[in-house]
């Protein structure tokens, strides 16, 4: 680009002057700690003693048989169903039901559907703890009101139900985002594609499969990356609603890192889990981005 060339008399490093202050703060307070976490994952360290013991890959190898870690990882994967797959399916359903005709008043709906995205997850957690309250929460009271009193439960206190209950909160947070994203994407698809398909006698399902889905590839990529990352990063919500309980039934890797680092002083172990979490997020994001740019024009 023309303007990116040096101006007459300008130093080769002029751009660095602008870069320096922001980059410095980033490197010291974000990037260096990431490297330090990676390094600590090869040590055994309680955080207090002067000496860290180098244990090579021992922390990583022991993760493979660590029931606590495997449980947390499995729960993160279950959360992908609630945070990512269900909201994306709901979003696609709504987008195909509404079609591409602009609706008067859509701004209002968009604003409302997007609302959970901007709220603090602590506020969301407090709200849903009230909804799940066994005695006077919205859910159980509602079930009793429509004659389904037999289905009332202590949602967050039940070993089987706590995980899907917290997961359902994730669905509540994410589905509006997916709907808004896909509806916006639908507006871009040229009308003549559908007209041609209708002339060829393609029914609505085939139109969805052959026109809508391929055209929404970019939006699908965005939805997958953001919601899967959200599912793998869950921390605030679990901290507020269940603290990983009852037992370890809602333990997630984010909470495991916090608990082992700041409550049990196992810094090497916590750093290892954090590193695995990071690599998992980077890996999945790269796969989705690669997938997206391979069978399309790219993002």
């Amino acid at each position: 680009m023309k303007s990116q060339r040096r101006w007459p008399g300008e130093s080769r490093f002029h751009g660095w002057l602008y870069l320096f202050p922001g980059l410095l703060i980033y490197l010291v307070f974000v990037f260096y700690p990431i490297i330090e976490t990676f390094r600590t994952s090869f040590y055994k360290w309680d955080g207090f003693s002067r000496e860290r013991v180098f244990v090579n890959f021992h922390n990583y190898i022991s993760l493979v048989t660590d029931a606590q870690f495997l449980k947390a990882l499995l729960n993160n994967l279950v959360f992908i169903i609630f945070y990512s797959i269900i909201p994306i399916l709901l979003g696609l359903l709504l987008a195909s039901l509404l079609g591409r005709k602009p609706l008067p008043g859509m701004t209002f709906f968009r604003t409302g559907l997007f609302l959970p995205q901007i709220l603090s997850m602590v506020v969301v957690g407090v709200t849903w703890r009230w909804i799940f309250n066994p005695n006077f929460g919205l859910l159980n009271v509602g079930l009793r009101a429509i004659g389904l009193g037999a289905f009332t439960r202590a949602w967050l206190g039940d070993f089987q139900l706590a995980l899907p209950s917290v997961g359902a909160v994730g669905t509540w947070v994410q589905y509006g985002f997916c709907m808004v994203l896909f509806l916006a994407g639908m507006q871009r698809i040229p009308n003549d594609q559908y007209e041609a398909a209708e002339l060829d006698g393609a029914n609505e399902f085939r139109q969805l499969l052959h026109i809508t889905l391929p055209s929404l590839r970019a939006e699908l990529g965005v939805a997958l990356i953001t919601t899967i990352i959200a599912a793998l990063r869950v921390f605030d919500l679990v901290y507020v609603t269940t603290r990983g309980g009852p037992g370890d039934s809602t333990l997630v890797t984010g909470f495991l890192v916090y608990r082992s680092a700041f409550q049990q002083n196992q810094l090497g172990y916590a750093s290892t889990v954090a590193t695995v979490m990071t690599l998992l997020i980077f890996g999945i994001s790269l796969i989705i981005l690669r997938f997206q740019s391979r069978d399309g024009e790219g993002v």
Binding site: L19, P33, K101, G112, M121, V122, V123, Y239
Partner: protein, 276 residues
């Protein structure tokens, strides 16, 4: 004809309203609860409060120390937003318009900060702040969040600057503007929508940040709103009106900003994600 069109759209509105109601009901219930008495809460989750009772807000504000939490959140958020947006403008300008040797290495370096889960940063960061005697201070919250915001802000602003019209920049150069003047006199006014989006996104992320504040702050009066609310919940979880009032104090400012700037929020979050 008009009537027909309306009838055709009716199912669409019904479907949308159902999904919207599912999102709004919990929030409406929360708002109602904040004005109720304990007894009214037990009577029914969605019944209207008998009167506009502000007692729970007052109790949360003074006894619950939300006055301190609110002050802390405002200070941290304002400082982080102002400094991050300023620094991101400079770094984004450098990346988008200036010759920067080593750009190919620096760009992915910043991308890492945007995608990394904060769990991978917070452990060494805690020991660093502890060594610097900065835990329980605003610095422990402000500096790392500026770093994080700059990583996203750089990507965001550089994508604006790299698409800004280069004829304007060339014209400015001919008129004798230097790089600094070109940025603030010529480009900054054009950057308004991009900057506003960045402001609301960083505001939201900083206002809602939880893990960092949880780890860095031990002193009760130094807590930010989300952490204050989480501890509040541990202590008063049976007192629904008080919890609801506390939650609304935390959500209030962000809701207000969202209602005014919702276009920027949505554009940023739909578009910001693409940038990642």
């Amino acid at each position: 004809m008009k009537r027909q069109a309306w009838q055709r759209l009716l199912p669409n509105y019904l479907i949308l309203s159902a999904f919207l109601l599912l999102i709004l009901l919990p929030i409406i219930g929360l708002v109602f609860s904040a004005f109720k008495t304990d007894i009214e809460v037990i009577k029914g989750p969605l019944t209207l409060p008998s009167q506009l009772r502000f007692a729970s807000f007052k109790e949360a504000w003074t006894t619950g120390r939300f006055n301190f939490f609110f002050r802390n959140s405002v200070i941290v958020t304002v400082v982080v937003v102002v400094i991050s947006v300023f620094l991101s403008t400079l770094t984004g300008y450098a990346f988008g318009m200036l010759p920067v040797p080593g750009k190919k290495v620096l760009y992915p370096l910043l991308l890492v900060g945007y995608m990394v889960p904060f769990e991978a940063v917070v452990i060494p960061l805690y020991h660093m702040m502890d060594n610097l005697k900065l835990t329980d201070t605003y610095w422990a919250l402000i500096l790392p969040q500026i770093g994080l915001s700059v990583s996203f802000g750089t990507l965001w602003m550089s994508s604006f600057f790299s698409t800004a019209p280069s004829e304007l920049v060339d014209a400015a150069a001919i008129d004798g503007c230097n790089r600094w003047q070109t940025l603030w006199r010529i480009l900054w006014p054009l950057a308004r929508p991009a900057v506003l989006t960045l402001v609301v996104l960083i505001f939201m992320w900083t206002w809602n940040e939880f893990l960092l504040a949880l780890v860095m702050i031990q002193k009760e009066t130094m807590r930010t709103l989300p952490v204050g609310l989480a501890f509040f919940q541990g202590r008063y979880s049976a007192n629904i009106p008080l919890m609801a009032a506390g939650a609304l104090i935390v959500a209030g400012p962000i809701l207000l900003v969202y209602i005014v700037f919702q276009r920027y929020f949505i554009r940023g979050m739909l578009g910001g994600a693409v940038k990642g």
